[in-house]
């Protein structure tokens, strides 16, 4: 497993490439819109989720850190981008105030709070998209990993983190628009968000970001550093006794993953047109874990696939049987856990035959790791 692009990665990237070309072309090139516009932003949203799932898989699948708070990093990235988009509205808001976003006018803020400074600049905002989640992850990880908080304890405090942030962002005094969040965006870098070509552009950008994310994650996990991460996952104490500074490795991968999640959030905001504290909710973060588990933990490509499949299922089920879709979704989670311990990817590769043995071996190794973790819990 040392090549950067192995077979599964190759297939996925190829598929992604086909999609990246076909969807915009189908949407823009023909008169009758072979691909309707809403599918473009829908798929764009799925790809954002996929990138978030890859970010989580990086820490959970390869380093055993089960974060139940990755939605927080995603949302912070989304907010950073949302703040820039709010600033871009300028005086086109309903109150035509050139300095303040509508919700601030409406709640009688006199001037822009300091933490909004600079977000008018796209590049500054883009930097913040990675820096803010990265800094939070660094701070959080620095404390948590140094104190050797592990297993479920770590999971629960990551959940506490995202829950606390959710409550904080709900507060209107915070200056992030309260429950409504940030919305009513007009354009990004001068391109109107409601035009088909901008949407297609964002879609392509998201696909590129996903591909880049996958490759970076793959590069990390196939390097020597990646080996150490897997060691930490499978036997943390043993790795420490061998002389590795476990905290440092964990911190590094946690920060990288948070930044990746932030980028996913930043791409998500302009495509769905709203970012609000709901994204911080613990339930959302749990869903991310489910995507990864469903797709196949520790496989990167599987995580992305899982995110796309669950999101797709949700879209279809809520339209097909609005009254009963939770049965279908809940049932899906149970069935996958019971019968597909290696996730959907494991199933596909198992069916593919020749590679089946290897997948099983990989998953067996994975289970060993989890077993030890379970015992620790």
């Amino acid at each position: 497993m040392t090549t950067l692009i192995d077979r599964r990665m190759g297939i996925f990237l190829a598929g992604l490439f086909v999609l990246t070309v076909a969807i915009p072309v189908g949407n823009l090139a023909f008169e009758g819109k072979v691909v309707p516009s809403y599918i473009v932003s829908l798929l764009g949203k799925y790809l954002c989720y996929a990138l978030l799932a890859v970010a989580l898989d990086l820490v959970w699948g390869f380093c055993g850190i089960l974060s139940l708070g990755h939605g927080a990093f995603f949302a912070l990235g989304g907010y950073a981008m949302g703040m820039h988009l709010m600033r871009e509205i300028g005086d086109r808001g309903v109150y035509a105030n050139p300095n303040l976003p509508d919700f601030m006018v409406f709640l009688s803020w006199d001037e822009l709070p300091w933490f909004w400074m600079g977000f008018g600049n796209f590049w500054f905002a883009s930097l913040m998209v990675m820096l803010v989640p990265g800094a939070l992850a660094f701070l959080f990880g620095w404390f948590a990993f140094r104190s050797r908080v592990t297993g479920v304890y770590l999971s629960i405090i990551t959940q506490a983190m995202t829950y606390a942030l959710q409550l904080a962002f709900f507060r209107n005094e915070m200056g992030f628009g309260g429950n409504n969040g940030l919305t009513d965006f007009k354009d990004v870098l001068g391109f109107p968000l409601q035009s088909d070509s901008t949407r297609a552009g964002l879609f392509v950008l998201t696909a590129v970001a996903l591909a880049a994310g996958l490759l970076i994650a793959r590069a990390i996990t196939t390097s020597k550093l990646g080996m150490i991460l897997v060691c930490i996952r499978d036997a943390e104490s043993r790795t420490r006794f061998l002389g590795y500074r476990v905290e440092g490795f964990k911190l590094f991968i946690f920060v990288v993953s948070a930044m990746m999640a932030g980028v996913a959030g930043a791409l998500y905001t302009p495509q769905v047109g709203i970012i609000n504290p709901g994204e911080f909710s613990p339930a959302n973060s749990i869903e991310v874990v489910i995507w990864v588990a469903l797709g196949g933990r520790g496989t990167l490509v599987g995580a992305a696939l899982g995110a796309i499949l669950v999101a797709l299922a949700k879209t279809l089920f809520t339209g097909w049987f609005p009254e009963f879709w939770l049965f279908a979704l809940g049932g899906l989670f149970i069935l996958v856990t019971l019968f597909l311990p290696t996730g959907v990817l494991g199933l596909i590769e198992g069916v593919a035959g020749s590679r089946g043995r290897r997948a099983r071996r990989a998953s067996a190794a994975l289970e060993d790791g989890v077993t030890e973790e379970g015992a620790k819990a």
């Binding site: 309707p36 279809l316 609005p322």
Partner: protein, 424 residues
């Protein structure tokens, strides 16, 4: 191999798009949460829409065309609202959408309706400060609920001290801001106003109720104006009842508590607390009696109640039907132009009119909770009140007016004589 699932998904998405090509029915989208936190309130509105559509079809549809309801579940997930709205308009090709409850869900779908030029009827009382070309607001604006309610308490109960308690989101924030400005304008001292915000679903009210009790012990008649959101109300009222705060000592007037909310509550300790709405189930008119009877028959439960947002959908739906008949088409631009000026009877014995600012005229009723979970009207406005999109009590919005007939603008600045913003 990996692409297989992917492609299957996309194919079925496309398929659902292709399947709706036939044009012999008029499609009505219903965008209410059927799961998640808002299902409590919104499921009923989905049912009432199905009933209204059913009724209309029994009358022969609109100009011979049958109506067809398209129901989706946005699952109380705000971005999903936008996605589902887009799906309804683009893929299902609906002609009008009735939906949303929370402000954030409305804000989330606004750009979609604007971009795809469709029509949304929004049936819930809200904070105002908005008027969009594609949206028709059939719920109350603050001047159709909050201000008359406060007037009543001041004039009839001699209230001098005010607790403005709300859930921390935009509707209570704005309403309380408007009320604060209004009360201070009426000569209430700022120290006689206490403002308190709690999170969604707040369930431990012990501290706040005791704070209210001690705030009420300052020698002046005190009342609570509650903009507490649905779910948190049950524990709030339970705590009030148990701590012995009776309506005769400190009355609570609520803007979000209706018959549906009371149905989940033992109302005996709450008798006398108030609510301000534009409709109560107990209003005694033939239209209302007929509506209630139909509703109970439709839902198959003799104990089900009706409430204010249901009436708003009733009015909105009838207005839309009339507008389509007037315009002779379901095409959005024609219907949007036809709607202002349309008059339909409401359920409280009056006639509601769609105004040029896309809000409607409504009576304001103040009711006291009875032990059977109904409200008894103790006061009502003389005539119907016109919904005001931009509050006159907030300095930023006092200069704005909305008029989609003459000015073609949702936020026209009367000082600079310009149409501000980019709302078309």
């Amino acid at each position: 191999m990996l692409k297989a699932g992917f492609r299957a998904g996309i194919a079925s998405l496309l398929l659902s798009t292709a399947a709706v090509a036939q044009d012999d029915t008029i499609k009505v989208g219903i965008l209410h949460s059927l799961s998640g936190t808002m299902a409590i309130s919104e499921t009923t509105l989905k049912d009432v829409m199905l009933m209204l559509i059913d009724e209309q079809n029994k009358k022969g549809g609109i100009d011979g065309k049958m109506l067809e309801a398209v129901v989706v579940d946005p699952a109380s997930d705000w971005p999903l609202f936008a996605e589902k709205a887009r799906e309804l308009i683009e893929a299902d090709d609906v002609d009008v959408v009735f939906g949303c409850w929370t402000s954030v869900s409305r804000k989330s779908v606004l750009p979609v309706f604007e971009e795809l030029n469709s029509i949304l009827f929004y049936p819930v009382q809200y904070e105002g400060e908005e008027s969009q070309r594609n949206v028709f607001y059939t719920g109350a604006a603050p001047n159709q609920q909050a201000i008359p309610a406060v007037d009543y308490l001041m004039a009839e109960e001699g209230v001098e001290r005010w607790v403005l308690a709300g859930t921390d989101y935009v509707y209570p924030r704005t309403t309380n801001k408007i009320l604060e400005a209004y009360l201070i304008g009426k000569g209430v001292a700022p120290e006689d106003i206490m403002i308190n915000y709690t999170p969604f679903g707040h369930s431990d009210w012990q501290t706040i109720v005791s704070e209210i009790k001690s705030f009420g012990s300052a020698g002046k008649k005190t009342a609570v104006v509650s903009t507490i959101n649905g779910d948190a109300n049950v524990p709030f009222y339970k705590e009030l009842g148990n701590q012995g705060v009776s309506a005769e000592d400190i009355p609570v007037i609520a803007f979000s508590v209706g018959e549906e909310e009371l149905a989940g509550l033992d109302t005996a300790p709450l008798v006398g607390h108030l609510a301000a709405w534009n409709y109560f189930m107990s209003v005694d008119t033939p239209e209302n009696a007929e509506f209630i009877e139909k509703w109970k028959a439709f839902i198959g439960d003799p104990d089900r109640v009706t409430n204010d947002p249901m009436e708003a959908h009733y009015i909105g739906f009838n207005m839309w039907v009339k507008a389509v008949e007037k315009a002779g088409t379901t095409e959005a631009d024609a219907v949007i132009d036809a709607l202002p000026g349309i008059e339909v009877p409401n359920l409280t014995g009056g006639t509601s009119v769609m105004l040029p600012n896309h809000h409607i005229t409504k009576p304001v009723l103040v009711g006291e909770i009875q032990d059977d979970g109904q409200f008894e009207v103790v006061w009502e406005t003389d005539g119907l009140v016109e919904g005001d999109a931009w509050s006159d009590f907030l300095p930023e919005s006092a200069v704005l007016v909305a008029d989609w007939v003459e000015l073609k603008c949702g936020n026209y600045n009367t000082e600079t004589k310009t149409c501000g913003g980019a709302t078309n």
